[in-house]
Symmetry: C2
Subunit: 331 residues, 2 copies
């Protein structure tokens, strides 16, 4: 498949680097202000040979640009699948939302790593897909390398009663270190920032917003998947989520929990009716008590009991792996 | 999709009972000597309305038959997907193998819960698929409700370096109970048989054959998935597996292991080169030490680290869930 990769952050760059290994060709790449479009994909004739992945990534690293073209040229290029990997934005979820609808209006597919459109405008996305020959997939928006969305799809959302888990590696790393070392939140946050596990402004992760967006996406999948007519589905957005983060978890809570063989994890849960994210007591050696930056998704099913899937929830190559898995499913 | 369900054991009956919930219709069911074919699917005209699932299951329970037709009538019926759920046989994997090729020769699809053809004649199956407009899927042959095969497919076999896990619930139940209660193998085997977790002749499970067949299937998926030309792939059969079971694991081994925070599990591992099943020491609280009849599949990937998927590895509804997931993927 020919890919237009919109977004040249860690995920976009990893998709550019790994696409070839999966048998796909990158014909266009865009960051927020520049683009590169391969000859042949630019509508001016010629054979499409794809961009040079290493050159594009190097150019971005050295000069901060991906090419001399304009992002509009990437959106207009001759691609099969548009990969939306720009930063998550809330509310109107722009510009990511319009990147996706542009692809669908051209009867192309879109694969999202950007949570914004899927969490905040699921109904609008569904309508755009219904009017298009193209389709969307968004495995990479939930749990990185963990195949959460496709597993729920295969079991069928009508047969999934709940999905819960540890969905943010930054918060989980902090809680794991607090428990392991008996340290307070501020101390461990500083350590996490030094390691690059937490951002300079960590709120998106530690306040539970990132985990909540993922749960909102899962709730939308469950809700829309359980009905035949999208008009009958309840649509979720971040506003519907009941969210508490980890800033106020004191070290003493973890020490007390440990005396009872328990610990604390930031757990997100989605059903077709509710979305909740909060720190919760879990058994210390239990399935939900994954360590460090690991994520786990626990799927409750009607006929097949509980499935647990754990793995790396974030990272360029991990998320790119999920994106390229989705591209493969669209072939 | 219209399904012909060949095999009326626990899995076949569960598929018959659950197909309607997934939006599919059962048009024929066969056991080893009888069949029922719905009006309209029998080639004599009329609208296909599907068999009555409850009636078929009741008839099998009360009279030991599914209907007054002949199994050949089910194979000849007008179906979209043949579900092969007859007992696993080794070597030539008949009659299951021929059920599948009959469907493919008619350009229909086949979904297998029967491990025999996939473990013992993978190359022949691939050739039959290549000559057909139909396709095969076999998620239900490995790990019951756990989406092992489709997850490996989505990551792409060329990017999976190994798959390992606890793949037999009977053996795992026995080892879990031996460790928990300090009892010997014979005692716990008797308990397992009373509970219906182990068969009267438990060898298939406790000797590691069942786990080995699942690993052989995974090795075939990895091997054939890593090359473009099937002629270049190494084909695995049960003979290629290096297999040790749990009959000779003494209670003392588990007690010694526990002193070190470890326990024993029957672990199967497949790469594109080797298949091994043996009892192994694993950390007591570690990921591989699932309890009771649970299964776990651990997938090592090139770019996305390790994925762990645990859940119910067996059971009528659980396995039927995997079969119906495969039917959905064929639509």
């Amino acid at each position: 498949m020919k890919l237009a990769v919109i977004g040249a952050g860690a995920v976009g760059r990893s998709v550019v680097e790994l696409a070839g290994e999966h048998g796909h060709e990158v014909v266009a790449v865009a960051d927020s202000s520049t683009a590169v479009v391969a000859d042949g994909a630019d509508g001016r004739g010629g054979d499409a040979v794809g961009v040079d992945p290493d050159a594009v990534v190097a150019r971005k690293a050295e000069r901060g640009i991906v090419g001399d073209d304009d992002p509009e040229d990437a959106l207009a290029a001759d691609y099969d699948v548009l990969v939306e990997a720009t930063p998550t934005t809330l509310g109107d979820a722009e510009p990511g939302f319009s990147h996706v609808t542009t692809a669908l209006e051209r009867d192309r597919h879109a694969v999202l790593a950007n949570k914004g459109p899927v969490a905040e405008r699921f109904g609008d996305l569904r309508a755009a897909v219904d009017d298009s020959d193209g389709d969307i997939r968004f495995e990479a928006t939930v749990g990185g390398a963990i195949p959460a969305v496709s597993t729920v799809e295969d079991i069928e959302p009508g047969h999934v009663t709940a999905v819960r888990g540890v969905l943010n590696g930054t918060a989980n790393f902090i809680l794991t270190r607090m428990a392991a070392e008996g340290l307070d939140y501020d101390h461990v946050l500083a350590e996490a920032q030094d390691l690059g596990v937490a951002e300079a402004d960590p709120s998106f992760d530690v306040d539970g917003t990132d985990a909540a967006l993922k749960c909102v996406i899962l709730a939308n999948v469950l809700s829309f998947g359980a009905v035949d007519d999208p008009a009958d589905a309840r649509e979720f957005t971040l506003d519907d989520a009941d969210v508490s983060g980890i800033r106020d978890v004191p070290g003493s809570a973890l020490r007390l929990a440990a005396e009872d063989g328990q610990t604390v994890r930031l757990i997100g849960e989605a059903t077709g009716e509710t979305v909740r994210v909060a720190p919760r007591l879990v058994p210390e050696n239990g399935t939900l008590a994954v360590s460090g930056t690991q994520n786990i998704v626990q799927i409750e099913t009607s006929h097949a009991g509980r499935l647990n899937i754990s793995g790396r929830g974030a990272g360029g190559p991990e998320t790119a792996s999920a994106v390229l898995g989705d591209v493969g499913r669209l072939e």
